[in-house]
């Protein structure tokens, strides 16, 4: 069976004279309930396995095998749906609109990886998320992204998260799913634009590690926040850090924080004056974000079909637009009064404005907290993974001589080893 996009469908041939009867449309049946339960079981098992591989086994090879499984099962077999990244939109819509139910499977896919992140860090990103695993497998020759650029681009996932919540909660659509670059690859079908985006990101991912996870993924942003409080997470060294610096270049994702033990003294000073200014300005920043969000909301509302239809009809009614679109023509056939449409559109627009204000405040808060974090210097005795950004890929493990010694592998010459206990 060949799946076709809407723009690949065309009128059926006219067989009226030959008496040929066209076969009816075949609609793919939804996955059976037991398969959905199986998906949840597989998800929990994969997360548990990933946690075990990262924390106990410290096995990169095991994670690669699990990643291949996830790409095949959650990606190609399940065609990328339901995915945890998109599920947060269902939850947002369910929270905003009591008439919208959120299926148990969707809820499970949204919440279980978050619960794991709260306890064991981003093991979901390591090898369970098909998007992350696919990019991880593609990484060939990592190029280091400058730290300042990494921080600047780090705002995007939070912005994307905020926008996705607005659109889902107000009925404007699921933008994470609409603009998912990898689902077209898993389905071997999609619009030219989305297929190109997916291929482009994969090619980029050969040199820049996990570009979607780091600079776009809204679910990754949530998991990063959750993993901040996790008790257990991936550690570079299985023992004591000897400040040998061998791991310094091992993370292709810029998720490694250097030790401050050997650092020149000036690098550990907190700029207290700057910190005070940023903390004092934070409420102002949030207020500005709320105002900016509200101002943008009236434009973002255009994404909603009712608002876009109402605007089109209004432009037609006032002579500012010529002719009709398919949507406006269909609306006019119903005979419904335009005032009703306008009133509905105004109500939707107002909801957008409210949601956009929240989103603006959220983005401003994130930017403010990032600035605060950059003004504070933390003392670190070890080279550590960054609790927010580390995706627990286990690449750094074998750069540590302690790990090599633990595995019975040759230790680089001159590497400092921890003294035996």
């Amino acid at each position: 069976m060949i799946e076709l996009l809407a723009d690949q469908r065309f009128p059926p041939p006219e067989f009226t004279e030959t008496g040929h009867r066209l076969p009816g449309f075949t609609i793919a049946l939804p996955r059976g309930p037991w398969l959905e339960r199986l998906d949840i079981i597989v998800l929990v098992a994969a997360l548990s396995l990933a946690a075990w591989l990262v924390l106990r086994q410290r096995s990169r090879r095991g994670l690669v095998a699990l990643g291949i499984f996830s790409v095949l099962y959650f990606g190609f077999w399940k065609k990328g749906c339901i995915c945890s990244i998109g599920s947060i939109q269902n939850m947002a819509q369910g929270l905003a609109d009591s008439s919208v139910g959120v299926p148990l499977t969707v809820l499970a896919f949204g919440l279980i990886p978050l619960v794991f992140a709260l306890v064991v860090g981003r093991v979901f990103c390591s090898a369970v998320c098909p998007h992350g695993a696919l990019q991880d497998l593609m990484l060939m020759k990592p190029v280091k992204v400058p730290a300042w650029l990494e921080h600047g681009l780090g705002l995007i996932p939070y912005t994307y998260l905020g926008l996705a919540m607005i659109f889902a909660a107000t009925g404007g659509g699921y933008i994470i799913c609409q603009y998912d670059p990898f689902v077209t690859i898993f389905r071997l079908s999609g619009s030219v634009l989305m297929v190109s985006s997916g291929i482009g990101l994969l090619v980029l991912g050969m040199f820049i590690g996990r570009p979607y996870c780091r600079f776009a993924c809204p679910y990754g942003a949530l998991l990063g926040l959750a993993s901040k409080v996790s008790k257990w997470r991936a550690r570079i060294t299985p023992d004591t850090c000897t400040q040998c610096r061998l791991c310094e270049q091992s993370c292709p994702f810029g998720a490694l924080n250097k030790s401050t033990v050997d650092a020149p003294s000036r690098t550990v000073r907190t700029d207290k004056h700057l910190l005070a200014v940023i903390i004092l300005l934070l409420p102002v920043l949030i207020c500005a974000g709320v105002w900016g969000g509200g101002a943008a909301g009236k434009s973002l509302a255009r994404k909603h079909r009712v608002v876009s239809l109402a605007e089109r009809v209004y432009l037609e009614e006032t002579g500012k637009a010529q002719g009709t679109t398919d949507e406006s023509a269909a609306f006019r056939v119903t005979g419904a009064p335009v005032e009703g449409l306008y009133a509905e559109a105004r109500a939707v627009r107002d909801r957008y404005v409210t949601a956009s204000r929240l989103c603006g405040g959220w983005i401003a808060l994130v930017a403010g907290l990032k600035l605060i974090a950059l003004a504070v210097r933390r003392k670190r005795d070890d080279y550590e993974t960054d609790e927010t950004r580390c995706v627990a890929c286990a690449r750094c493990f074998k750069s540590c001589p302690q790990e090599l010694q633990r595995l019975g592998l040759p230790v680089p010459e001159g590497a400092r080893l921890a003294p035996p206990p």
Binding site: L4, K141, L153, V192, G292, E311, R332, T334, A336, L374
Partner: protein, 566 residues
Amino acid sequence: MNDAAPHWVCKLALPAAVASGLLVLMLAGLLACNEARGKVSTLVHSRQVIRLHEELRSRPRDEALKERIRRLDLELREEMFYRLELSHNASRALLAGLAVFLASAHFVRVSRGRLPNPQEWGARKAGEENRVTRLSRRAVAGGAALLAGTAVCLSMSPVRLPEPAPVVVAAAAPAFPTAQEMQRQWPSFRGANGLGSAPNATAPLSWNAGTGANIRWKTAVPLQGMSSPVVWDNAVFLTGADKTQSCVYRFDVDSGALEWTATVRLPGGTRPETPEVGDNTGLAAPTPVTDGRRVYAVFPTGEIAAFDFSGKQVWARNIGPLDNSYGYAASLAIYQDRLLVQIDRGQPEDGESKMVALDTQTGQPRWEAKRDVAGSWSSPVVFDVGGKPELITCANPFVIAYNPVDGKELWRNKCLDSDVAPSPVMAANMIVAVAPNTDIVGLRPGAADIAWKSDQGVPDATSPVTDGQRVYIVNSDGLLTCYNLQTGKVIWTHDLGDQFYASPILAGNALILVSCKGAAWVVEAGDVYKEIGKGDLGEECCASPAPVGGRLLVRGRNNLFCIGAK
């Protein structure tokens, strides 16, 4: 670092990586070419196909041309499916090639990997990390500024929607009139509550259009219609339609001047197809209704519209299709701010019948109730039953009562059959409904049992009228029958010897009947037949008269008459 891979694997890895990499590139190129060439739209928009179709329009019987089109269509479809198949197969092969490439590249990397040497990186420089942090802060601030700029840019192109007019609470009139206000007018088919009775009116006792006696004025109605006049203060409303337009007219009660004509304009400017209707029904049979704020009209085309008292259309929508045999004829009813439309079509099992309530201000649906009844021509009526409103509807085989507020069914009684056209009346807690040519039925509201039945003088089109003690019915053949309202016992009958489609009305104590020919009888309501007056319109009449004060408004085939002492 190459501890994990056997030597031969590492040796094979490079050629495998090169070969699979080339294969991936080749397949990617093939897919890109296929995508560029294989637009499906080429089939739909193929110039050749379009040209051949145009030729076919001028030569519709050219079999050779048809065969050419079929062949070309088949070729294009075959090519399309070939390309789709190719695309899917190439995608799968590309994925397989990519997997080989990734695996072999991994082994190449492993075999060539070398240990990191921190000595080469040099010592950590003082100030370097501060510089990076400074840059990072600027990048975050810059990113935030960029987002703020985007928000400002977006705010410059807000959604363009008309803002609602400010509501001036103090000056706003109530959304709908009180029941007392309605009682003082003649706002709908057969008056307020559809009883056909105006207790405070007085009837003229004689008139003659030929001599002009007691004809206050007579005004031509531009388009014909079977609908009856409705009146609010000094405004008389009528409807008329033909195959091109559906109109509402306002006349002045005192002078008879046609003050305005309003044509229904549906959004988009299209008019629904005109259904087939019988000559006795026409295209404007349903009587309009008014609540003193607006006048509402429905037409068999499915058009339903509201106009304000200046003739400006407030809203209009298509509520159709309303096609049924004979043609749609049910008049509108109104309850507070709900416009009630009875749409009965087809057979009970067709599921096409429904009762709809629209918002009088916007035309938006307030509720809809499906009805398992056959097509009918009867009008819905809202009665006050023990202080609560009940919307009573009649259609084969049920009398059904609804709550006009939410459309919830209150009760039903299976007592009707055939093509139901007469509307029900109610007085003294007794509802009288008509099963055409079969029975007249008396039943209590809410009761499952029928109080009485009578098979004498049963009409097929006209509705009964009651003075609270008796029921008066004239059938199409002119047999006027008076029944006891509570028992259904016939009190008297009188043959008027004419044909009647217009339902009788009561003005005060005078029963007024107008025949199809325009002849009129004024009969005193009571236990004996007593003719107290006669009139002649001089033209055919199928519409029920509207009594206003001491005057009577009657619609003839071509004219609207105001009868009363000059």
